[in-house]
Symmetry: C2
Subunit: 199 residues, 2 copies
DNA sequence: CCATAAAGCTAATCCCATTAGCCGCGATCG
DNA sequence: CGATCGCGGCTAATGGGATTAGCTTTATGG
């Protein structure tokens, strides 16, 4: 039969597009194969299975998100950087409702690209917080706090947890303003975070 | 054959126990039926299907969480109430790793108990924030912010997103302290939230 | 004691994931 | 130019879960 000419790249990229259209939970090898004009088992020539595809998708989405966060923060500092990054974060989640959930999967240690993408994403947040004078354990805690706030808001919003109100933008900006304030007065406690600690 | 004597209550309760043991994603009608000593299709006499079971489980878990939040906040105010409630929230999520994800499903409008449970949970948070002098739109925004922070942290923790570090407690307490500070200085902006607005 | 509703069952169907094994296209090498 | 061989596609088969249909049996209440 005519060769379609797939490779892992094209398969994973199409998976990302499909996930954004039908939702992360509805991303299925069967649907993906149909989309690519190929029989389901043919996908196994490019990905090891559904789990592996999910991990590859996670690596892709995490890399994209990391890039957007880094770009948003570039050339800014303090509250400016925080707001720009927060907007970029929510923006990505809304533009890519299927990819975003994939970014929450913990990076696969066996996939260097995945690991690097995760480090870049966390690193982007970490860098912004250095702008508040936070380092070491303080920065680790602050990074976790910021990730929590942004991820929590964005995932509640995606789940429809905020009802139909149109005032969600305002709520988000106030949350970010609250985090900004918190980071300004973040308790300066201890010195060095263990290098092994994942923020 | 000997009747087992199931009803919707027992089925949903066993589903909750099973979810906590094997994880929300691994909760399956097949596994549940096995656990109850019954053939899979027999479950359809008590629940309409997998989706309906998930909604009933959500109602159960949301009600439990609402009760624990309310209890934690009882007799406290301001930062005390906030810290107690935050601890109760995380505690619930850690004691019930399978039920907790169910609480994030938006309440089924057709199930009054589910709706009430959701209102109680949000109401508990809302009440604590009134202790900061927040009302109307301000309280709506603050409620969304607090839910985001708590849910975000707890779900990242459950996903293993914080690595293996043992210092997660400290990070959580600092996040809560940051929210406390933010609520103390929360911008007092507008008056009344639309009654229809879901925080 | 019987009628009936409810609670179980088996069987059948459908969808998805996975594995095994076949086949032809096409790039490469002699 | 033609033979080869690896790779990318295929079909078929298996197994697990959800759902529906329809049968049987148990309790229970009149």
């Amino acid at each position: 039969m005519p060769r379609v000419g797939l490779n892992q790249q094209t398969v994973v990229r199409e998976a990302a597009r499909l996930a954004d259209e039908v939702g992360y939970q509805q991303l299925t090898l069967a649907a993906l194969a149909g989309r690519l004009g190929v029989a389901l088992p043919s996908l196994y020539k490019h990905v090891r299975g559904a789990d592996a595809l999910a991990r590859k998708l996670s690596a892709l989405a995490t890399a994209e998100l990391a890039t957007e966060l880094t770009t948003a923060a570039a050339g800014r500092a303090g509250g400016d950087a925080l707001r720009a990054m927060a907007d970029a974060y929510r923006d990505y989640a809304r533009r890519h409702p299927g990819r975003y959930p994939a970014t929450q999967q913990v990076p696969d240690p066996a996939d260097p690209e995945h690991v690097v993408a995760g480090e870049r994403a966390v690193g982007a947040i970490y860098a912004v917080l250095r702008g508040y004078g936070l380092t070491g354990d303080d920065a680790v805690d602050a990074t976790r706090a910021l990730r929590s706030a942004l991820h929590g808001f964005v995932s509640l919003e995606a789940a429809g947890g905020f009802g139909l109100s149109r005032e969600v933008d305002r709520s988000y900006h106030r949350l970010v303003a609250g985090m900004d304030l918190a980071f300004q007065s973040w308790p300066r406690a201890r010195g060095t975070a263990d290098q092994a600690d994942q923020p």
